[in-house]
């Protein structure tokens, strides 16, 4: 019984190397990772002029599906502080991470109803009033490693204008290249 549990756990984590982050800096957007579709587990955006990027220590992304809403949480650092950006998208409820392909080549207008974005800096969470913005999922790939279906790679861009502390700000040049698998996909 114990052996079965251990073997099962190993199988889930067989490709741990694909869950770690590979940060390759964009030569045109200093401080941000390059846009890629390799499942490098990185993201980045400028919050005004400060780079908000994924880190080695935090799991960069989690996808949580509750009933009919998909939450994409990007967790990283900005000037050393913990920052979390959360997109909530109603109308998408993939049962498994392989079903995320429904988002392939999809542009989501963040100003439409059923969309919400929150920004958490340290312990302070702000529900963002979106002036303008979109989340663009360029590509979702089901990844086979040595002919075994392993995880899903989701890549795309995001931009938005909003208010923070009563001041308009822009979250710009956002890009993500995320591997979504057993360890960061939740449906409950």
């Amino acid at each position: 019984m114990l052996l079965a549990v251990v073997l099962s756990s190993c199988a889930e984590m067989e490709d741990f190397n694909l869950t770690t982050s590979v940060f390759i800096e964009d030569p045109y957007y200093p401080g941000l990772p390059v846009y890629s579709e390799w499942g490098y587990n990185t993201f980045g955006a400028y919050i005004d002029r400060n780079p908000f990027i994924s880190s080695d220590s935090d799991v960069p992304a989690k996808i949580i599906v509750n009933t009919d809403t998909l939450h994409l949480i990007l967790r990283g650092r900005m000037e050393g502080e913990k920052v979390e950006l959360k997109f909530s998208i109603k109308g998408y409820s993939p049962a498994t991470y392989f079903d995320l392909t429904v988002l392939d080549n999809t542009t989501i207008n963040l100003k439409e109803s059923g969309r919400a974005v929150t920004l958490k800096i340290r312990d302070q969470t702000t529900f963002l009033d979106i002036i303008d913005g979109e989340l663009q999922v360029i590509r979702v790939q089901r990844l086979y490693v040595d002919e075994e279906l392993t995880r899903t790679i989701m890549s795309g861009y995001f931009n938005l204008k909003t208010f923070l502390n009563d001041e308009p700000i822009a979250i710009s040049c956002g890009r993500f290249d995320l591997g979504i698998g057993y360890e960061n996909f939740y449906n409950y």
Binding site: N17, L18, T20, S21, V22, F23, I24, E25, D26, P27, V34, W38, G39, D56, T101, D104, V140, Q141, R142, L143, Y144, V145, D146, E147, I153
Partner: protein
Amino acid sequence: MKKVVFTFCFAVLQVLYLQAQEMPAGAPPGRWVSFVHVESGLLNPSGTIRDNIAIRQNISSFFVNQVSDGEINSTAFGIYAGLRAEYFLKKFKTGLSAGLRYINYGSEISGFSARNADFFYLRYSMEGSDTRFARVKSMSETTNFITIPLELRFIPIQRKGIGLFVKAGAELSLLNLRHSTHISFQDPEMNVNEDEILQQISTPANKFYSTLYATAGIKFGYEGRVNYIIEVFLPGSYLTKDNFSLTEVDYFEGFKLSLQIPVFKNQNE
């Protein structure tokens, strides 16, 4: 094939060496002399991994900051041996030579995706929403040619058994003996897919091979005796494209060691 070529070279070397030993030292002066060169050396082609070989974390093509344990390396080398006959005009200190050369090229892509892994991820398919990676330990390629080298040598400085020379050369393949590409998978069960994966990722290598090069070297030995030659290739260029299916090669360097054996019977003609 390698054994046959080396045995042949060795036999010819022995015969010529004995013949040279039998000739009187300081052979009679003439307008020109002829030599046989027995040569061997190494070539170091320089280039990058082909764009259609998609390797995760292969970012060497442009300058970026990277945070990753992974490392991918591409190496290529060539080894060769040959025989050339040279006609050397003393007045102009210049010789023209041609012959046959056997070249064996090898190239390899190896690396690891993380410190705890002895493999890298090769992306070999992207169809619809499905992307396929293979865990690969290394990819290798070998090519063998018989070529005809043509070389023009100029020896401007010759003092007391030491001569400095420069050379311009070109070579053209006569025979393409064998070309093979191989993938070493981390999971042996992937071996059955090797041909299919190679078909998808590799560029067919050119059946012909041709180079243009220049060398500079030094020779040791007196006239009428066997001379020992060391020469270095200046960056040479490949005239034919797609000489390798895994790497895009820009130029090559290398060195050559050779014996220059005088053939006296021509001097009296």
